[in-house]
């Protein structure tokens, strides 16, 4: 691609990203649901299941340290999924048809909302992380652990965004919104959400090791869980899981976009 082509492509991507962010500034409280829901889950789960950290062999003595990365990932997933719901609204309103009739490179129509998802997720993730830190767990993983938590959350928001975009392009209706968010919810909770793998029982003990989110959570938990110390062994499975999910849902979204375009 020529320099001019690259500049054009960058310009279109930037404009689509900026449009998504402007919308946040215009809709007051637009980030509230994606921040409040995980925060309530964090506090509620802490209140209900907080004594689980007393179990022999639990990898931390602070249950909130176990929950904070989960809530960060949940918030990132909800923020990512919301971009899919917004795309569905754009499709219903006819705005997306105008984009399709433009000469903009097709992958950019997906890249714009994905970039917006990354930006959007930073607010709830940071709010939840700070709230969690104030409630007790130290940053046992240091700067490396913190970096891994943010990398896990940002990457997961991309995955959720691609999932949301795929469903929005398929359904072309805002009614798909709950399905997008429920998908994120299911993916996050069918993992080591509440307890580590050795404590799981029944079908979840069988399913959780096959859920890539289990490894993304492990990667993020290097920040706060003392029993999951920062190491390459706790990092690469998460990176691999994220790369696999991004590739899978990215291809699905592109395929769906091609169908809509035809």
């Amino acid at each position: 691609m020529s320099t001019r082509g690259l500049a054009y492509t960058g310009g279109v991507g930037f404009a689509l990203w900026r449009r998504s962010l402007l919308e946040l500034a215009r809709v007051r409280g637009g980030l509230l649901p994606t921040t409040v829901a995980p925060l309530i889950f964090l506090l509620g789960s802490l209140g209900q299941f907080g004594r689980l950290d007393q179990l022999v062999g639990f990898p931390t003595t602070s249950y909130i340290a176990w929950l904070v990365p989960l809530s960060c990932l949940q918030a990132a997933g909800f923020a990512g999924g919301a971009t899919g719901a917004n795309l569905a609204r754009d499709i219903e309103a006819g705005w997306f048809d105008r984009l399709l009739s433009s000469p903009a490179p097709r992958p950019l129509l997906i890249l714009g909302p994905v970039m917006a998802a990354v930006t959007r997720c930073l607010v709830p993730v940071t709010v939840i992380f700070i709230a969690g830190l104030l409630l007790g767990p130290g940053l046992t993983g240091g700067a490396f652990g913190l970096f891994m938590l943010y990398l896990a959350a940002i990457s997961f928001s991309i995955v959720a965004s691609l999932w949301g975009i795929t469903l929005a392009l398929r359904a072309k209706s805002q009614q798909v919104g709950p399905l997008i968010q429920n998908g994120v919810f299911i993916a996050v909770f069918l993992s080591t959400a509440y307890t580590p793998l050795p404590f799981l029982k029944g079908w979840l003990a069988v399913a959780a090791p096959y859920n890539p989110v289990t490894y993304v959570l492990q990667m993020g938990r290097q920040a706060t869980v003392s029993g999951i110390e920062p190491s390459w062994a706790h990092t690469w499975p998460g990176l691999l899981a994220l790369a696999g999910m991004m590739l899978f849902f990215g291809l699905l979204a592109l395929r769906q976009l091609r169908r809509v375009d035809r």
Partner: protein, 266 residues
């Protein structure tokens, strides 16, 4: 019969309540956007909590109920009924925005019948939910020592809980008339759920939450369900559950009727 006479005729109003309840039931059971949160989501959380936190049975002080899934299913029923109540509020807000509510107001129907119809429909959804969730818990290995009587009492408590939640949902919907606001209330359902001993015994909750749960009427309802299911007064009081449930229904329905009158006046 004049419109005023129709409004005051108990037989006519009973028919109106049943008709509106049937409509509420049809709408909630046919649309995926209503079914998904009130049936699928609680079942999912039951499966996750039952498998993911069952090690909690090894904690000192955890009541010996035989099956963990049997212990937590009361929380699932509570969650389902709360979400059904929210869905009722969303449906009312949808009726207000869509204009159906104005048509109801112009009909010779007592204002309270409109609220009671929705509440009755949601109570029936609560009954369906409770039966389904208990059946799933049995399939997952739950063992209810309370037998059929315990199950019937639990279903009745679920109906009360759903009615109270519907009354609350209706109050907010009638006060605000905003569909988008109602949809954004979804996370707040979990505040009510998590401030009750939904999945853990009260004594093992976080101390702050334990104190808050004392003033949440749902605590007594969920403990009443457990006491009925396991035929164990140590887990709660069945009659305490009924008292809290009936009081909550009376309060929230009165609030909803008041909200309805305010809406009509304005």
């Amino acid at each position: 019969m004049s419109a005023l006479a129709l409004e005051r005729d108990p037989a006519t109003q009973a028919r109106v309540i049943v008709a509106l309840a049937k409509r509420a039931l049809r709408v909630q059971l046919r649309r995926a956007q209503f079914l998904l949160p009130s049936f699928l989501l609680p079942l999912l959380l039951l499966a996750v909590v039952a498998s993911g936190t069952s090690a909690a049975q090894n904690l000192p002080g955890f009541p010996a109920t035989g099956s963990y899934v049997g212990f937590v299913v009361s929380g699932t029923i509570m969650q389902g009924t709360l979400l059904a109540g929210l869905m009722a509020g969303i449906a009312i807000a949808g009726d207000i925005e869509g204009g159906f509510f104005d048509r109801l107001l112009s009909a010779p129907i007592h204002r309270a019948s409109i609220v009671l119809g929705r509440v009755l429909g949601t109570a029936l959804i609560g009954v369906v939910q409770a039966i389904l969730f208990l059946a799933v818990a049995l399939l997952m290995g739950a063992d209810f020592q309370g037998g059929v009587v315990g199950v019937v009492l639990t279903v009745m408590l679920a109906a009360l809980s759903a009615s109270a939640a519907a009354g609350l949902g209706a109050t907010i919907a009638l006060r605000t008339g905003s569909l988008s606001l109602m949809q954004n209330l979804f996370p707040f359902v979990f505040v009510l759920l998590f401030t009750a001993p939904a999945f853990f015994p009260r004594a093992l909750l976080n101390p702050v939450l334990e104190a808050i749960s004392g003033v949440n009427p749902l605590s007594y309802v969920v403990e009443g369900m457990r006491a009925a299911l396991f035929d164990s007064p140590a887990l709660g009081s069945v009659w305490g559950g009924f008292t809290a449930g009936i009081a909550s229904v009376a309060l929230t329905c009165a609030l909803a009727v008041w909200a309805m009158r305010s809406r009509v006046r304005s």
